[in-house]
């Protein structure tokens, strides 16, 4: 038994009708929720394409419904998972394409995720980000895992659940890991 599974969109069987069922009324709420998440959590350069990304991802849902006898209900959690897979596949495709085009343009400066940073803050944020990534690589693995989750805005309690460790142990690892991170950043001249 595993606690994870792969969700795949199976190839369309030959001879089936190709028309997708119409969107359902209750899709609107789900679509709005997913759009909000994409806008707030995706890289900023993708924000203007959020609606297109979500629309493309929803096509997967329509396909899925068409192939599943149409009458059953799919849970919103399952639908989100399907949409998520489609979204990440597409985002990765765009990221790869963008990376290759930027290489051709020889080092364009990119915006940062922090809200409306000035040039100095943006530069500082970039340096801190790179420093954090480098410093994380030097942490003991348990501390690295705990701090990485915390830097991803995961609460300590939730981190404990995701890591499978007890709360006290996890809190201790985060605390010590952040201390290590602070020292490492200082050593790099990056004062928090």
């Amino acid at each position: 038994m595993t606690n994870s599974g792969s969700f795949e969109i199976r190839p369309e069987p030959q001879g089936k009708p190709q028309t997708a069922p119409a969107p359902r009324e209750d899709d609107a709420g789900l679509r709005a929720e997913i759009s909000r998440a994409v806008r707030s959590l995706c890289p900023r350069w993708l924000a203007s394409r959020a609606d297109d990304l979500v629309q493309d991802a929803f096509l997967k849902i329509f396909e899925l419904r068409r192939r599943s006898e149409q009458e059953r209900e799919l849970s919103s959690f399952y639908l989100k998972r399907v949409v998520y897979s489609a979204l990440v596949d597409e985002i990765r495709r765009l990221e790869r394409r963008r990376e290759s085009s930027l290489e051709a343009e020889d080092g364009e400066e990119l915006p940062l995720a922090s809200p409306s940073p000035g040039p100095e803050r943006a530069q500082a944020g970039k340096e801190i980000g790179v420093g954090i990534r480098d410093c994380l690589a030097t942490l003991l693995r348990p501390r690295k895992l705990a701090v990485t989750l915390y830097l991803q805005d995961v609460s300590v309690v939730e981190a404990a659940r995701l890591l499978g460790w007890d709360l006290k142990h996890t809190r201790n690892l985060v605390y010590r890991g952040l201390g290590d991170l602070r020292q490492c950043l200082k050593a790099k001249g990056l004062h928090p």
Partner: protein, 221 residues
């Protein structure tokens, strides 16, 4: 520790900012693996592997944040309100904050029942969660497809749903007094060998506060 810890806020922003320049690499986990790690569905070692990868891969870190954002409604436990320990903690503040977090957690746990929501973690002062009792990587015998899970609060009756990977419900049972149930062979007749089944349990204790499991999976023999 949250907003009062300015450095950590900046660190988070800096870490997230790396995602603006990110591109996936050949070792990046598939989206499904990221989702399973972000929601806690994946086995522990798998989750750890994904989190470690995320420490050095800004693209996957961004994808993880998206998974968290999308799955939050279902997976976010009341524990989200738990404040982070300060870098230089003051014990009386820490305990006060912890007590406030527990109180808030109890309130949220009561407000978030339902099939797909995470179970309320605090009941009677104990963390309660329904776990699968089927060993990892075992195959489920078709003729004796017994599902077993950890018991809920005393006096609970259980509801079970079994779904295919496409989300189609193939079996459901309710009113179970024991934390186990055998999927009728007739429900599995159309499922080929090796099919992955997804199943969920909801415990209904006498106090009426239902407790839902996460979605487990098992491969059919």
């Amino acid at each position: 520790m949250r907003e009062e810890d300015g450095p950590v806020v900046r660190w988070r922003q800096g870490f997230a900012a790396l995602g603006e320049r990110a591109a996936p690499g050949p070792d990046c986990p598939e989206p499904d693996r990221l989702w399973a790690a972000a929601t806690g569905e994946a086995p522990q070692a798998e989750r750890h592997a994904v989190f470690e990868h995320m420490a050095s891969c800004a693209s996957c870190a961004a994808a993880f944040r998206l998974a968290r954002g999308l799955s939050r409604e279902e997976t976010e436990s009341a524990a989200q309100v738990e404040p982070f320990p300060r870098l230089h903690p003051r014990p009386w503040l820490r305990w006060g904050a912890a007590l406030a977090a527990v109180a808030a957690a109890v309130v949220l746990a009561v407000q978030l029942p339902g099939w797909w929501s995470r179970p309320g973690p605090y009941r009677g002062g104990e963390v309660r969660e329904i776990h699968s009792q089927i060993p990892e990587h075992s195959l489920l015998p078709r003729a004796q497809a017994d599902l077993r899970w950890s018991a809920g609060p005393s006096g609970s009756v259980y509801e079970v749903r079994v779904l295919t990977r496409e989300g189609r419900e193939i079996a459901v049972e309710s009113g179970l007094a024991e934390p186990r149930w055998q999927i009728p062979p007739s429900a599995l007749a159309a499922a080929p060998s090796g099919t992955v089944l997804y199943w969920q349990v909801k415990a209904l204790p006498p106090d009426g506060k239902s407790l839902g499991s996460k979605t487990f999976s098992v491969r059919l023999e």
